[in-house]
Assembly symmetry: C2
Homo-oligomer: 342 residues x 2
């Protein structure tokens, strides 16, 4: 897991090369024409990359994006009519049978399909009309890291290509930003040490970083066996806030920008008024209540790019916390790399 976290700048830099950019430009045409909306099939970590796509393609490209319920296609064998849909599958292995089933059905209905996958020989790559290869190299740790950020970057590159943005643009310095985040491992380790006895926590975020919020919780569940619950901060206020008592661990992703002042205020109040033990991954310079612990992202960046960079501290945090707790983050108990649906 450690090696694969550290490989991320190289993987992302490779994707941003001429070949990757040409792939993005070619596939962007599948998003136009009579496509009314995008339906994404994904599971696990890839489902969190799908949450990123929902915001990126929604906010930047005006495309409604829905997450498919694959069991409608498989367990119930009642695929809906997909007229107007572009069907996108996200899967590092390309071998989740229910994700493949959604793409098969879309092809049978004559709909455009795209697979974003790390395995060009997989059933998924062989089924979809278009394939965006991640070329992240083999991922050995059961807990996905480099294929997650590669999936996010593929989503971002497609967004830029659909808009016809100039090559490079806002994406060009992602590998350096990710490298800077990898270099911040020591700060993250110190933060992890403060939480080495927790058995439950909540993770809060919004918007583009809802992806990071859910991925952080999943990493804590997988690698550290912590009952970590992710919430959109809005849904959190609709009920789950009732759980917060003195000492309850609350993790949050708060990117820069006045748009997220309410979330900043919320986590400060959870700390100051309810005594929650709060840790935020945040931009440098943001102010919080005194007791709030911080992991700082280096430098200012566009919010829509921030989930690719913010993925690193949450991976490092989960890795260090697993090691602190005596778990093996490479092969958590009871997990297989490719999950077959029961």
């Amino acid at each position: 897991m450690w090696n694969e976290i550290a490989e991320q700048p190289t993987v992302l830099d490779r994707m941003l090369g001429p070949e990757g950019r040409a792939t993005a430009a070619r596939i962007a045409s599948a998003f136009t024409g009579e496509v009314r909306y995008v339906l994404i099939a994904a599971r696990g970590t890839s489902d969190n990359a799908a949450r990123y796509a929902q915001y990126v393609w929604g906010v930047r490209n005006g495309l409604p994006v829905g997450l498919a319920a694959p069991s409608i296609f498989t367990t119930y064998c009642r695929p809906p009519s997909l007229g107007g849909a572009l069907v996108v599958a996200l899967s590092q292995s390309g071998r989740s049978p229910d994700v493949v089933a959604v793409v098969q059905e879309a092809r049978a209905q004559g709909r455009p399909t795209l697979a974003i996958t790390n395995d060009l020989d997989s059933p998924l790559a062989n089924t979809a009309e278009h394939v965006f290869p991640l070329e992240a190299g083999p991922e050995h740790a059961v807990t996905a890291t480099k294929t997650y950020t590669a999936e996010l970057l593929a989503v971002a590159m497609l967004s830029a290509a659909i808009r016809g943005d100039v090559p490079d643009g806002e994406l060009a310095d992602i590998p350096q930003r990710v490298a800077a985040a990898v270099a911040g491992a020591e700060e993250t380790r110190a933060a992890a040490r403060a939480f080495n006895r927790v058995d439950r926590c909540i993770v809060l975020g919004r918007g583009f970083n809802l992806s990071t919020t859910f991925e952080w919780a999943l990493k804590l569940q997988e690698a550290c066996s912590i009952a970590a619950q992710p919430f959109s901060s809005v849904d959190f206020l609709h009920g789950p806030i009732a759980m917060i008592e003195e000492g309850f661990p609350v993790f949050a992703i708060v990117p820069a920008g006045g748009r997220h002042d309410p979330l900043r205020r919320l986590v400060s109040e959870l700390s100051a008024r309810r005594g929650a033990d709060v840790l935020v991954v945040t931009a440098p310079g943001a102010t919080y209540a005194t007791g709030v612990r911080r992991i700082r992202l280096s430098g200012a960046m566009c919010e829509w790019i921030s989930p690719i960079v913010a993925a690193v501290p949450i991976q490092l945090f989960s890795y260090h916390l697993a090691v602190e707790r005596g778990s093996d983050p490479d092969s958590p108990h009871g997990l297989a790399k490719v999950t077959t649906t029961w």
Copy 2:
């Protein structure tokens, strides 16, 4: 909360009367024509009713259903192009500003809109083209119960009306089934007592009852301040299963039918092999490993109807558990009935 749980048979019976059936038949026409997919805006408990709609309208009516990310419309002010969409809002109060914003945008784009709400004078009811009134009467407890099952029934009635099913049909005996479930309060209280010291748990389910799974977790969070995590059993196998250790409380909804044998086997194995403390809400006669505790649903019923009935034991369980733990289920700490988005 107790009174409102007990009122449910009356509320559901009223909805199934001639007026409610005429409303469903009239609104069903909004689902046809050039509607390619349904986009639902909802928060909190209503979001769980939206999960039910995703399966019911998907499996029974062939309609792809996506859950909107309201913040794309509000925080980011970048509403996507909604061509092909029918926009449905679910909200008991009709006053969540971000849910109203999604419907306003859909109307501005000339799309058909439907509000399913308990308040005909609300901003939501005044904004949407079509309104399905729940007529559940005022709901005083902060934790929604009767408006949740009323929302589920509205979704089911619309599904039947879109198919042109004979009036009554499979829906007719829902009020009696719900009354039988309310009468099972004592069995549920005994089950709740066994878990009165837990501070975290997971809740598992699939398909139509993914709604029940998420709603059970939400009720436990709100009313009992328990860190309850809901998972589709498939997503659970993709990582979170690593959390399960000796004594970990696992709740599951397992309706009748061979389709759910894998879930039945999974919960039995979590009990027998990992020592999880398992409670299932299940059909009579289903077999499980020895240690698995059960709450039995009375009688056989179609799986697609079962979430309306299964809602009752999970409400009763949460109510009794809150009382056992000395919490006030009517006004959990830090919650307001109408949540304004931060």
